[in-house]
């Protein structure tokens, strides 16, 4: 168990998605279908490369690779522990699904779209595999900036405005993280993730630590859309094309959460957070976010806006579980990263098909959609039931663990938050399912049929994950087994 080995693999993993840039350069105009093959192929290859790390991750062995020292004690480097591997694996699976879906969905500005999609994968992986806060920050910023072209893909006024808002939020957040980073470096002299808390033993006063923590949370909180900082989410999601919003919600929000994970486990450590007493305020903030976001979601009539608000709430499930600082709570939180990614991914991919085939994104105009696009609506229903935490979908597993975690942490009073949130989820998802399947057909477009094969197939494969992760929880290689290994290292 444990140990570190040097490995060049992380560098290959990071650069594998760049293959699609080469594809674009070579075949963009002459052989577009080949170029498309390369775009999707590069993400598949990335996924396979990440799989090579699987045996090490299951044994808890850490692969490290230094790249360059910029200054004493500040360097770029990679370090793949099981947590990073888990996140990287999730990223690449979702990316494969989304790029395959894009084949059917994206019809304009293809080259730009795919290039930025691939670069984003590269940078997100960089965040997952980074060895210190500095590397993480660099990739985090790059990822933030390179998401912009995906959001404004349609180049409508609404999209541009949403993109602008996104950019202002992200870059400001970047500045804030930089400030926190600087403070951390100044006081503790290290930015590295070593598995032991970086600021723990440095004898820094509690007040300073609290300030550093708050500034970090303010920075990462923008991507993790903790409530007062969530403003960009409900605008950016509807503006982006469906596969991009699936990735935004499924992964890019989670990159912020991943930053918080590193902050909690590698920078501060559970012990120190308990001592500082900062977890309780975070729990309150997360609870408020969960409830208020769900209430906002009820009032939205635009399907994608509703889903976006739902994401705001669901990501705070993760924050809640994390700051419960109990074993089941943390397991539930880490699992929910993957679970929510697949559920919300499915929902956004379905919303793309609904817009594509029925020509509407108003939830009130979906009567009888189940008769027109049955498979899509079945996938939608399963994922929506998952959001409510119905058994056999993965949402139930995370809800169960989070509820258990809050009792373990002697904070049973957070169970009602989870339950009320589930209820509100039911309030805003069930009417959609109900009108799709049990009402007379009134959808505007008279002739509509199931989506192109690539879109349908990727949506269905996403929903299969929702069910598999909800039933075969303990199968090795699925998130639960990985998180069990992560949990061995974390002193909870």
């Amino acid at each position: 168990m444990g140990g570190e080995i040097k490995s060049i693999l992380p560098i290959f993993i990071i650069f594998m998605p760049w293959l699609s840039l080469a594809g674009a350069l070579l075949w963009r105009n002459r052989r577009p279908s080949l170029a498309r093959f390369v775009y999707v192929g590069s993400s598949v290859l990335t996924f396979l490369l990440i799989l090579l790390l699987y045996p090490r991750a299951m044994k808890g062995i850490i692969s490290t690779q230094a790249i360059l020292d910029i200054a004493p004690r500040i360097s770029l480097g990679f370090r793949v522990d099981t947590l990073g591997f888990y996140f990287a694996l999730l990223l690449s699976v979702l990316w494969v699904i989304a790029s395959f879906y894009s084949l059917g969905y994206i019809s304009t500005r293809e080259t730009r779209y795919y290039c930025f999609l691939s670069l984003n994968l590269s940078f997100c992986l960089g965040v997952a595999l980074s060895a210190n806060m500095f590397t993480l920050f660099i990739f985090y910023e790059l990822m933030s900036l390179f998401t912009y072209p995906l959001i404004i893909h349609d180049e409508t006024d609404i999209a541009r405005r949403a993109g602008l808002k996104y950019l202002v939020y992200s870059i400001t957040a970047g500045a804030i993280i930089l400030a926190a980073l600087t403070m951390q470096f100044y006081y503790s002299g290290t930015l590295a993730f070593t598995g032991r808390p970086a600021v723990g033993g440095a004898g820094i006063s509690a007040g300073v630590l609290k300030i550093i923590f708050s500034i970090y949370m303010l920075g990462f909180g923008v991507k993790a859309c903790i409530m007062p900082l969530h403003g960009w989410v409900p605008d950016a999601h509807p503006a982006a094309p469906a596969p991009a919003s699936a990735l935004l919600s499924g992964v890019i929000l989670k990159v912020g959460v991943f930053g918080i994970l590193r902050l909690v486990y590698d920078v501060f450590g559970v012990e120190l957070l308990r001592k500082l007493g900062v977890s309780l305020p975070m729990l309150y903030v997360a609870s408020i976010t969960i409830i208020v976001a769900s209430i906002f979601a009820i009032t939205q009539t635009d399907l994608k806006r509703r889903l976006a608000y739902s994401s705001v709430g669901q990501v705070s499930y993760i924050i809640l579980g994390l700051f419960l600082l109990s074993k089941s709570g943390a397991t539930g939180a880490l699992l929910h990263i993957a679970h929510h990614a697949f559920m919300k991914g499915t929902l956004f991919l379905c919303s793309g098909i609904i817009m594509h085939e029925l020509g509407t994104k108003d939830v009130r105009e979906m009567d009888g959609a189940g008769a027109k696009i049955p498979l899509t609506m079945i996938a939608f229903s399963i994922a929506a039931l998952g959001m409510m935490g119905t058994p056999v979908t993965c949402g139930f597993i995370s809800k169960w663990l989070l509820a258990l975690g809050s009792v373990e942490a002697h904070r049973g009073y957070f169970i009602p938050v989870l339950l009320i949130s589930s209820l509100l989820n039911a309030v805003y998802f069930l009417p959609i399912i109900y009108s799709a399947f049990f009402k007379k057909v009134t959808v505007k477009k008279l002739i509509s049929h199931e989506a192109p094969l690539s879109m349908l197939f990727s949506t269905l494969s996403c929903v299969v994950f929702v069910l598999v992760l909800g039933v075969f929880v303990t199968v090795p290689g699925l998130p639960y087994s990985l998180i069990k290994i992560v949990m061995k290292v974390i002193p909870l």
Partner: protein
């Protein structure tokens, strides 16, 4: 073959691994898949498949019966699902329920072959019926609360499709109520089970011996949450509101299953809950002190009988709620004119009987075997007669397309078999000797008398309520059977308009065909109604239902006779073994129950008051025409629930609107503040750089400026660390170049 020994009560029960419980649950799933695949391509193949696979499941349960009941084994199937502890286990209690469920499902599926052919979406019906069967069997064969919860939720969700099958306005409205009550129940149950798991250190039905779970107040809270969750499913007043809407809205074979089997899942859960409170640290014997008020005992100081205190409080509450449920369901059943609604309220009332038995079992604790015996016996009986009544009413609807008691009558000439079978079921539910209800009601009566001996005047009042309710049951069943099958056919002179009115009003006739404008079959019914109207046309159109439907009904009637004529056998071979395997009941009492004589003079005399009350009720109501009384809407608890729900939604909308207003109000302020900052930054930048760069979009470059500025300030502040300054510069350059790259 894994083999270990569980000490369970006084008996030693062997747990043996076996695939049978798994197969019993798998069969309906496979069946559902095949039914879905065959679909509408071949009606006959599909129907046969549905019957064969539900029969296979029933056969599996029968196969297990011998080894579980006679050899005292627990058959377990370990499945590598969820967190790895996913075990299906057939113990005596679970297997008995599974047997009842799969049997009822088999015969209801046979019946459905005939019944459903006039409805649309037949494949969907059969598919979801089988899936629901699998989930229901899963509840009964669950080995711990986690498994139980998983299947409980699944059953609730899947049955929704059966409830809204006809997709009429009424059905959909009932469906909304149903699904939300199911969601509330599921959430409450989840909270209860999580608390149980966390404090009892054990997910199995019996808490860990080392944990002090039974002594804590967490135990009481967990039990209350679970009680709400199970109570919603069991139709316990005041949580019953979904039931009188959903059961009539479903097609008759599904109503039979909903009323006959699925609400029993709630009762089953409560039995498991009581079992968990009986629990392992040996329950101390009852003491004289316990005769005092039960509520006052709720958190006594550290005392050996404290766990008994929790159990007693739960039992006491259950008895009181059961009394309300009994009498409330009975009164509302009497005033209904729609047959299926009448039966739905009757189900609520009968669930009150069952809950009363379980409450007595909990209240009496160690000596409560008689309560559980009565409850379980009545659960089996109710499954049979209520299913049969729903199927019989379905047959009436099939032939006449009417569910209004005011329109029917005199059907016995045309439908002799249905009439006979309904009478059998009616006599069963009335509790007439030689029919099955008699035995279980006698046991329940004994149970409540025993509880009253310990529990004081309030429980004595419940005994009186029990007798009155039994009278009321006789009254409403007599009303149903007399008005439907005897007398003369009434019809309605302006039936056409009536049915249209019924369609538009929410209260009456939420039967499967009420949405006349939607389904083809119902449109036929429409024209049919228009044509007839006199007793003559009855002669022409009404005829006995198809053979498959009669077979399905006759099977239930056979069960009613079997359980009514041989109660001694049932008690000694089924109920007593079940009691001895459950909790830790006094073994003498279990022996006593095993050899109890049901047909004694005193028992028969015991029903005479009820009979008298029932006949008196019936005559009074018939004389003054009280059967059609309409209670105001504000009388029902549902009215207030709806108010709360709507109020909550309004609150959400208002909150969201207020948020938008505030944003509109303060946004300009924030914007001008941002403008101010931006001007300031631009100013500083121009001072530093000495030259002004063309601003592409000031707002976009602003954050980059902030970043650079922040970096500069930080670098200045932490002078001395030169390396750090380098980093900052590198970083700023990198970021700016990216910004340029994008633009």
């Amino acid at each position: 073959m894994s083999f270990y020994v569980v000490h369970h009560g006084t008996n030693v029960i062997k747990a043996v691994s076996s695939s049978l419980p798994g197969i019993a649950m798998l069969m309906p799933i496979i069946g559902a898949l095949l039914v879905f695949i065959v679909g509408d391509r071949s009606e006959k193949t599909r129907n046969i498949l549905a019957i064969v696979f539900s029969a296979a499941s029933f056969a599996c349960c029968l196969t297990m019966f011998y080894s579980v009941f006679s050899h005292g084994k627990i058959l377990q199937t370990k499945l590598p699902l969820f967190f790895g502890e996913f075990v299906l286990a057939a113990d005596r209690l679970g297997l008995l329920f599974a047997l009842v469920a799969s049997g009822a499902w088999l015969f209801s599926t046979i019946y459905a072959w005939g019944y459903i052919q006039h409805e649309e979406r037949r494949t969907r019906y059969h598919t979801f019926s089988l899936l629901t069967e699998a989930a229901t069997l899963g509840i009964f064969l669950a080995s711990n609360f986690f498994v139980l919860f998983v299947f409980f939720e699944l059953m609730g969700m899947l049955a929704y499709v059966l409830v809204v099958h006809s997709q009429t306005y009424e059905a959909r409205k009932a469906g909304v109520k149903y699904i939300f009550m199911t969601v509330y129940g599921g959430l409450s149950l989840l909270a209860g089970i999580v608390l149980y798991f966390a404090y009892a250190n054990e997910i199995a039905f019996v808490p860990d011996e080392k944990s002090s779970y039974l002594l804590t107040s967490a135990c009481f809270i967990a039990a209350s949450f679970m009680m709400v969750g199970f109570g919603i499913k069991a139709g316990m007043i005041p949580l019953h509101v979904w039931l009188p809407l959903a059961h009539p809205a479903a097609p008759s074979p599904a109503s039979a299953l909903l009323s006959g089997v699925m609400i029993k899942a709630g009762a089953f859960g409560i039995i498991r809950l009581i079992g968990s409170l009986h629990g392992s640290p040996a329950t101390p014997a009852m003491e004289g002190a316990l005769a005092s008020s039960a509520v006052a005992e709720h958190f006594p100081s550290v005392h050996a009988s404290v766990n008994m205190g929790n159990l007693r409080v739960i039992g006491w509450a259950l008895i009181v709620l059961a009394a309300v449920t009994m009498v409330g369901g009975m009164v509302l059943a009497i005033v209904q004119t729609n047959i299926k609604r009448l039966l739905a309220f009757s189900s609520i009332s009968q669930m009150g009987y069952i809950l009363m038995g379980l409450g007595a079992a909990a209240f009496l604790g160690h000596e409560g075997a008689i309560g559980l015996a009565g409850g379980v016996y009545h659960i089996i009986n109710h499954a049979m007669f209520k299913a049969l009544l729903f199927l019989g009413v379905g047959a009436v609807y099939y032939s006449t397309h009417s569910l209004q008691l005011t329109e029917l009558g005199g059907l016995w000439k045309k439908m002799p078999v249905t009439t006979f079978l309904c009478c059998v079921a009616g006599l069963g539910i009335m509790g007439i000797p030689l029919f099955n209800g008699f035995a279980s009601k006698t046991l329940l009566h004994h149970a409540i008398v025993e509880a009253a001996n310990v529990g004081g005047p309030l429980i004595k009042a419940v005994e009186v309520i029990f007798i009155i309710t039994a009278g009321g049951t006789i009254c409403y069943i007599a009303k149903l059977i007399v008005l439907t099958f005897f007398g003369h056919y009434r019809g309605s002179k302006s039936e056409f308009h009536d049915s249209l009115e019924a369609d538009s009003s929410n209260l009456s006739n939420p039967g499967p065909g009420s949405g006349l404008s939607f389904s083809g079959a119902a449109v036929k019914a429409h024209s049919f109604n228009e044509k007839q109207g006199t007793a003559d046309s009855l002669e022409k159109h009404v005829s006995e239902v198809p053979l498959v439907m009669r077979i399905g009904m006759a099977a239930f009637a056979c069960g009613i006779f079997a359980f009514g004529l041989f109660p001694g056998l049932v008690l000694s071979k089924i109920v007593a073994p079940l009691l001895s395997s459950f909790g830790n009941f006094d073994s003498h009492m279990v022996h006593h129950i095993a050899s109890e004589h049901i047909f004694t003079l005193s028992n028969v005399k015991g029903i005479l008051p009820s009979l008298g009350i029932g006949v008196a009720f019936f005559l009074i109501a018939a004389k003054w025409d009280l059967f059609r009384i309409r209670l105001p809407e504000t009388f029902g608890i549902d009215y207030y629930y709806s108010k709360i729900e709507i109020g909550f939604l309004r609150l959400c909308l208002a909150g969201s609107k207020r948020h938008a207003e505030l944003r509109a109000k303060y946004w300009p302020l924030a914007k001008s503040f941002g403008q101010y900052i931006s001007d300031w930054v631009v100013d500083i930048r121009s001072r530093y750089r000495k030259r002004k760069r063309a601003v592409v979009d000031r707002l976009v470059t602003l954050p980059l400026d902030i970043q650079g500025f922040a970096a500069y300030i930080i670098a200045r502040q932490f002078t001395g660390d030169i390396a750090y300054g380098t980093v900052i510069i590198a970083l700023v350059i990198a970021l700016l170049s990216i910004g340029v790259l994008i633009w």
